[in-house]
Symmetry: C2
Subunit: 260 residues, 2 copies
């Protein structure tokens, strides 16, 4: 039965997609786990990031599933050229779907049943969320066992983390769902911008202590360049700091899951 991890953050551009994609690749390649990467963001950046190893997918969409059009998750799951890694099709209609969901009874639980179907086919399922705390992020949290929170080195991202943890608490209490915060991930750590970076890292340590991952993701242009080319950074720059950080993070994530 798969472990399900929601990668969520309110703030834009903090590295949710970069983290979801590279963790999924690391889990598949280096930990040999059957991995599913679910794109919950209407921007379709998961497919863009893996364009060179993913077929162009046309057909059923996640919106069809969430809106109850009788589709099963197998219709939107597609293998990639990386053994062990499957992804869901992009769905630009998700933004509109998010609005429609608002009217549904139990609107936070529409993804859960779908993910449950997929659990038997995978070891780990990663959910890439959009940059907000709206219905899709709520659906991800209600469907997940764990929440991983990327936070880049800006105090605005820091404030977003605390807002997100309030939402997690509401999911736990009001929805009665045992969602665990796996950790908070410092991303885009820039030694050249040390003054701001140090301030945010200190704040994270002070506010969240053990929750903060030991592995920080450094600013590394190959992470961005891999995304442009749509190739895994593990192929483009296998020994670089970006690739290494995500490979090590995958190990740390699995350790925390074992310990939880």
């Amino acid at each position: 039965r798969a472990k399900v991890i929601a990668v969520a953050a309110q703030k834009g551009g903090v590295g949710k997609t970069t983290t979801a994609v590279n963790l999924a690749l690391a889990m598949a390649k280096f930990q040999d786990l059957k991995t599913l990467l679910v794109d919950l963001d209407g921007q379709g950046h998961v497919a863009a990031s893996l364009a060179s190893i993913t077929p162009d997918i046309i057909g059923a969409s996640l919106s069809d599933i969430l809106l109850g059009h009788g589709r099963s998750i197998s219709e939107i799951v597609h293998p990639t050229q990386v053994t062990n890694l499957s992804v869901t099709a992009s769905d630009k209609g998700l933004a509109a779907t998010e609005g429609i969901l608002s009217g549904r009874i139990g609107k936070e639980f529409l993804l859960r049943g779908t993910i449950k179907q997929a659990r038997s086919d995978f070891d780990v399922i990663l959910l890439d969320c959009p940059p907000n705390l709206g219905n899709l992020t709520l659906n991800a949290m209600a469907a997940a066992d764990y929440c991983l929170v990327p936070c880049d080195m800006s105090p605005l991202s820091l404030a977003g983390v605390s807002d997100l943890l309030v939402v997690v608490e509401t999911v736990q209490d009001r929805l009665g769902h045992d969602l665990k915060v796996l950790g908070i991930l410092p991303t885009r750590v820039d030694r050249r911008n040390w003054r701001v970076t140090e301030h945010v890292l200190n704040e994270l340590a002070e506010l969240y202590g053990e929750l903060v991952f030991d592995n920080h993701i450094p600013i590394n242009s190959f992470l961005a360049r891999a995304q442009i080319k749509g190739v895994p950074v593990f192929d483009l720059d296998p020994s670089g700091n970006g690739a290494t950080a995500y490979k090590e993070l995958a190990g740390e994530v699995l350790q925390r899951i074992k310990a939880a």
Copy 2:
């Protein structure tokens, strides 16, 4: 009668808020225009960015206005310590409000009437949008004369620009609203990351030609540091590249408005 500019982009973290805030400051300080900065994003980053010059505001919220609770915009507009600059109160409830709006008839036109009231009191009104193309961004576009689109140096941001322009076209055609695209603003331009940066700048030039602003905003740590301290970058680092770029951009924006 005020000119109303929506600062919008689907992609997270590309500098919408940094642009809306610094353009507003430049308009007020250097162009001597009565300026209103409206925060349409539930993250409340406008108030955070101007914390040291804005009083803590409690009372009516933009949600009250959008949801038709009979409040007027004057109840949420507050002067800052910068002559000519007023801002609206933060409203963390905007995310929930965005969901509620979905059910309303003419849901894109709820902000327009409110902004119309404010037009007589200001020369320019800037609307800072959340990182999506949802109801609040739609309301901003339907209330605005112009749309300014920040785009940072990532191909994902580039893709977001094209999605946004499709939405602008729909606002023009289906809603019959004469919204003009004022321009596309290259942000966070990093000479140290030139390979990716050059790729995106070339794409922008190729796809959008004259629409792209001449003034690009460079990566400049004082822009981030000013945001941390909640002070205008024009006080913190007045002769720096970040401050200068936004000051020059304000001039270019006004030129384009005159020419439009």
